[in-house]
Symmetry: C2
Subunit: 130 residues, 2 copies
């Protein structure tokens, strides 16, 4: 197996995630990094981080793709079977750490991963009554 390295660019990307409460798109990360590294490098770092299970990919109803490093205080492994909330007003995506859907699958399916995204208005936007 290929070993993975800690480069300055990778560290910088991870720091961006640490400082963000919401999920981030490639473009948003790029803006925050301002020219620490190339656009392509960010794509490659994101791919690696997903493979290493450090962040995960969230794809929205509107077709946009974001990434998040969820905060699992007491778990060692990154688990992403929880829900995400996508605000229709401010477009922020947040993890709903405690919302886990329960469901019954038909036979003959092997489920490896689930993606449960709810959209609507987040508390912030709901209170400023849009």
């Amino acid at each position: 197996m290929k070993t993975t390295r800690n480069t300055t660019a990778k560290t910088a990307v991870l720091e961006v995630f640490e400082n963000s409460k919401t999920a981030l798109s490639h473009t948003e990360i790029q803006k925050q990094l301002n020219d620490v590294c190339d656009r392509v490098t960010i794509y490659r770092i994101l791919d690696r981080l997903v493979n290493e299970d450090i962040i995960h990919k969230i794809s929205n109803l509107d077709g946009t793709v974001k990434y998040a490093k969820c905060n699992h205080s007491h778990q060692r492994v990154h688990i992403h079977n929880h829900a995400h909330f996508s605000c229709e007003n401010c477009h922020e995506i947040t993890c709903l750490e405690n919302v886990k859907p329960s469901y019954i699958m038909p036979h003959n399916y092997k489920v490896n991963e689930i993606n449960f995204t709810l959209s609507g208005l987040c508390p912030k936007c709901l209170n400023s009554n849009i």
Copy 2:
């Protein structure tokens, strides 16, 4: 409100959906139509059909976007709060009409829409043991 028209292109797109058991991407639709109409027209038709609630948009974990006209035999209105299954092997997306997640939301969120996609192996690919 703007009235909507039945054009040959729109009819052709709808027919493609009728003949498909799985969700389709813009590209897949375009291939099946072969030059009935322009690429841009397909985008516009898809937008219209989504607005008219005849089809719905599904966005995958891999970032791809597909559309489906789900088969709701006895309902008058198109409901899309059911789950979708995305096969990691054949990449087909099918509606799981009867799988509806149950969940408990935190307060202060207004949920308008849900997107519940499961991925793994579909029965077809599971049986041909990949």
